[in-house]
């Protein structure tokens, strides 16, 4: 087990009567890519701010890179906040260099590093442009580069993909992979589950300030049963007796894409159940299927399953 770069023990933050973060426990291994998932207002940004010592927890302990305050190891941490902002009148290379020098890098080295990053991520032509002349997406890329210019051991990116077009999202994904390949630890929060699915080894799911899941992506998928959709003219309620099948129910007639005169059935099966068994059972019983739809459980399903109802209630309350 690799050593932990960050650990939170019973961390709690309250604003008056409102508990923003409630007794969060967490340990992030070195060199991993860790996703913070949760609906709006779940407490992700508050947790990140406490990790960075921008705000202090009311209870609990945080240990970052072996220290009790991120301020003690600030030169070893990179941070991209949720709400992006840069000095509008500064040149692109200068702003990357400036934030690197604030993190302890020597001025000359920081300047070289800024140009190196800009070339690596396709912004070399904009090195001397002022920030206010950049598009929002490019500005965001510059800010991401500013957060990693000083080669931090721990990189924390709060909603790094928001506002980026698909091409730049791909660039950012590659950047995160590059960081991981360099042995750097990356924590990022996101609403877009596909990114977490592609990049993260481990996930933290929080809602209303409390942790609801902490583990690998596969562990997350295993939380909810796998779903199979069948379409035929027969009654398939008997499939419920099959081993590994958790439930069988007929979908309403209004279901999309249905062939006229057929019936649609939704089956939930256990994680380890092989869906081929269902197909074989139908074949042996001469059930003619016009549709057999087995989908891998997505992180999106897990997210909706775990936090969907609470998030809806919370957001529209």
């Amino acid at each position: 087990m690799p050593s932990s770069v960050l650990s939170l023990t019973n961390v709690t933050k309250r604003y008056g009567e409102f508990t923003a973060v409630n007794r969060i426990n967490l340990s992030i291994p070195k060199g991993s890519v860790y996703g913070f998932l949760g609906p709006n207002g779940a407490g992700k940004t508050t947790t990140i701010r406490m990790i960075l010592d921008i705000i202090r927890p009311d209870e609990g302990e945080i240990e970052v890179l072996g220290c009790t305050s991120a301020m003690q190891v600030r030169s070893r941490i990179g941070y991209l906040p949720e709400e992006k902002g840069l000095y509008k009148k500064m040149r692109v290379w200068a702003i990357i260099s400036y934030f690197a020098t604030l993190k302890g890098m020597h001025r000359k080295e920081a300047k070289l590093r800024a140009f190196e990053l800009l070339e690596q991520y396709g912004l070399k032509d904009f090195a001397n442009a002022t920030v206010d002349s950049l598009s929002k997406g490019m500005g965001q890329k510059v800010q991401v580069l500013s957060s990693i210019a000083h080669r931090p051991e721990l990189v924390i990116l709060d909603e790094p993909f928001s506002g980026l077009d698909p091409v730049n999202q791909e660039v950012l994904e590659q950047l995160i992979r590059d960081l991981k390949n360099n042995g750097q630890t990356v924590i990022f929060s996101t609403h877009i589950m596909q990114h977490a699915e592609r990049l993260c080894e481990r996930l933290l799911l929080i809602t209303q300030g409390s942790k609801v899941f902490d583990g690998t992506v596969d562990e997350a998928r295993a939380i909810i049963p796998r779903r199979v959709i069948l379409e035929c003219q027969n009654d398939l309620s008997a499939l419920a007796d099959l081993e590994g099948v958790l439930s069988v129910c007929e979908l309403p007639v209004s279901s999309e894409g249905r062939i006229e005169g057929t019936r649609q059935w939704e089956l939930y099966v256990k994680e380890q159940t092989n869906p081929q068994l269902i197909l074989q059972h139908c074949f042996h019983n001469s059930i003619s299927l016009s549709r057999f739809d087995f989908t891998q459980t997505s992180l999106h399903d897990v997210f909706v399953h775990l936090v969907g109802q609470e998030a809806r209630e919370h957001n529209f309350r």
Binding site: L52, I54, P81, G85, L86, L102
Partner: protein, 530 residues
């Protein structure tokens, strides 16, 4: 400390690298130069004024014309004095000691002591022709020829058809369209505007006012009395004043003659004067005479107070706008992940403070360059005054009070900036503080006149006013108790304000939404951490 300096350097560069900053900095000396240059040249730029003189009494036309001629000669004499100062071979500066070294200095000395007498002498001794002859040995070899200013008041011919013997009311009615600019007079080949009508009625003598125990002959207020001066321009009073003085002189001479009093003897008596020596008991024995330099030194602190005030106003603008920009752009969060709020605050204070000092240095520098390059009588005098000021002990006072004043107010303004998301929000919070800041400026001249009076002493002990008031009192040697006491209080207050501002800054900088109310602000001041 390293990150504090990095932040300070960035803040400094961000401000001083902008065109707006340098436009603002250079605008002050440029405006100063324009005002200085324009005002000194404005007199010569005044257009020629045409007047019409109608003397129905037949007694005063000569004296009016001589008054106008005298007004012109006064301008010739003034211009000649300036020419003399600028083209003297020995030096281009005025000696403040007022010890005449030669005939030219005697002339200048006479002029500065009694302009009326100097003009009399000027005219009786042959005017410009003689003065030029007398001055020639003292002028530089490359001195340009003196250009006599053109007359500013020129007599116009009456319009055709005007009956000069008609009733005054009728003359005025005929000339009213000319006076109102609706019609123009012919003067040679040109059409000119009529500036003024000087109408002296036939019975003007009946309106002469003589001292009497009880006023007699109270006429109807709406009826013009005495000499009638008709002019649409109410601000240029040179012509009316000159005529009034001249006519009164003629009348008084007539009175003297009637009373068998020697007119020349009266004139000599009127020119008799007793010099008043102003002496300062605080100066070294034998050198107690109050010089022009001493007077300027006494008033100089006001200039420093202005300098502190203007620089402070500029600095707080930068502080507020930069802090609010960082807050609204959310840069602040990145910064706070890299530096502590204390380091950020100190960096800002240092950076903006350096910007303020740059402004002052740029102003003073451009001012020095200006007065060295643009040498006139006035600037030569300013050079000497500045030399006096720079050699005085006011500079250390200025440096100390500037630093304290900046730290005190900048801390407060920075805390305000940290609580606001927009400049509009900040303006409402700034208003009470701006009103406080206006007080020392409003009371500045009173304190300069009575630097150790009750008002000055009371205000000195109010920390928000101390830097301004004590700077203003600096030249008046305030009591040691005031000096030491207010300095300790000011330093302690500055430290306390910075400490409390730091608390507000730490909590306010990440705050969103409306600025806090008083009660919430009080809680913020008491709370230790975020």
């Amino acid at each position: 400390m390293r990150v504090t300096l990095l932040i300070a350097w960035r803040e400094y560069l961000e401000n001083v690298k902008t065109k707006g900053f340098w436009i603002g900095v250079l605008l002050v000396p440029i405006v100063f130069f324009i005002i200085f240059h324009v005002s000194s040249r404005l007199a010569t730029a005044t257009p020629t004024r045409y007047y019409l003189l109608v003397d129905q009494s037949g007694q005063y036309a000569d004296s009016v014309e001589s008054a106008i001629l005298r007004e012109h000669q006064r301008r010739v004499m003034l211009d000649f004095m300036r020419y003399l100062q600028e083209n003297r071979s020995e030096s281009n500066s005025i000696e403040i000691s007022n010890e005449p070294a030669n005939q030219m200095d005697q002339l200048i000395d006479d002029f500065s002591n009694d302009e009326v007498a100097a003009l009399d002498d000027w005219l009786s001794n042959g005017g410009l022709a003689v003065a030029l002859q007398m001055a020639r040995p003292y002028l530089r070899t490359d001195a340009p020829d003196f250009e006599e200013p053109r007359p500013q008041f020129v007599a116009a011919l009456p319009p055709p058809g005007l009956d000069l013997n008609a009733a005054p009311e009728q003359i005025v009615e005929t000339l009213r369209p000319f006076l109102n600019g609706q019609q123009r007079l012919q003067a040679g080949d040109n059409q000119v505007s009529l500036f003024a009508l000087i109408l002296i009625p036939a019975d003007v003598d009946s309106d002469i006012v003589r001292p009497a125990p009880v006023p007699t002959g109270m006429a109807d207020d709406s009826t013009p009395r005495g000499l009638q001066y008709w002019a649409g321009n109410l601000t240029d009073t040179r012509l009316s004043s000159a005529i009034q003085t001249s006519i009164n002189n003629v009348i008084r001479q007539q009175e003297y003659t009637e009373l068998n009093i020697d007119v020349d003897a009266v004139r000599d008596v009127q020119r008799t004067r007793l010099p008043v020596s102003r002496l300062d008991p605080g100066k070294v024995a034998g050198d107690e005479q109050v010089s022009l330099a001493d007077t300027f030194r006494q008033w100089a602190p006001m200039g420093f107070v202005y300098l502190i005030f203007i620089s402070l106003m500029q600095s707080v603008q930068y502080l507020l706008s930069n802090t609010i920009e960082e807050k609204s752009n959310r840069i602040i969060e990145v910064l706070l992940a890299s530096v502590t709020p204390g380091e950020l605050m100190m960096g800002k204070l240092l950076g903006i403070g350096a910007t303020g000092i740059t402004t002052i240095v740029a102003w003073l520098g451009s001012f020095f360059v200006f007065i060295r390059l643009y040498q006139t009588v006035e600037t030569a005098m300013i050079v000497q005054i500045l030399d006096v000021l720079l050699s005085s002990d006011l500079i250390p006072y200025f440096v100390f009070y500037y630093v304290c004043c900046y730290a005190l107010y900048a801390g407060i303004f920075l805390a305000i900036g940290s609580l606001c998301n927009t400049l509009k929000e900040a303006q409402s919070l700034m208003m009470p503080l701006m009103m406080v800041l206006v007080v020392p400026i409003l009371t500045m001249s009173f304190i300069a006149q009575d630097p150790n009076g009750t008002m000055a002493r009371v205000m000195s002990w109010i920390p928000l006013f101390t830097p301004f008031t004590m700077m203003n009192r600096a030249a008046a040697q305030p009591p040691m108790f005031d000096m030491v006491g207010t300095t300790i209080l000011l330093v302690l207050s500055t430290v306390a304000v910075l400490w409390l501002s730091g608390r507000v800054f730490r909590q306010g900088i990440l705050r969103t939404g409306q600025p806090p109310r008083i009660l919430e602000l009080w809680r913020m001041l008491r709370k230790r951490t975020t």
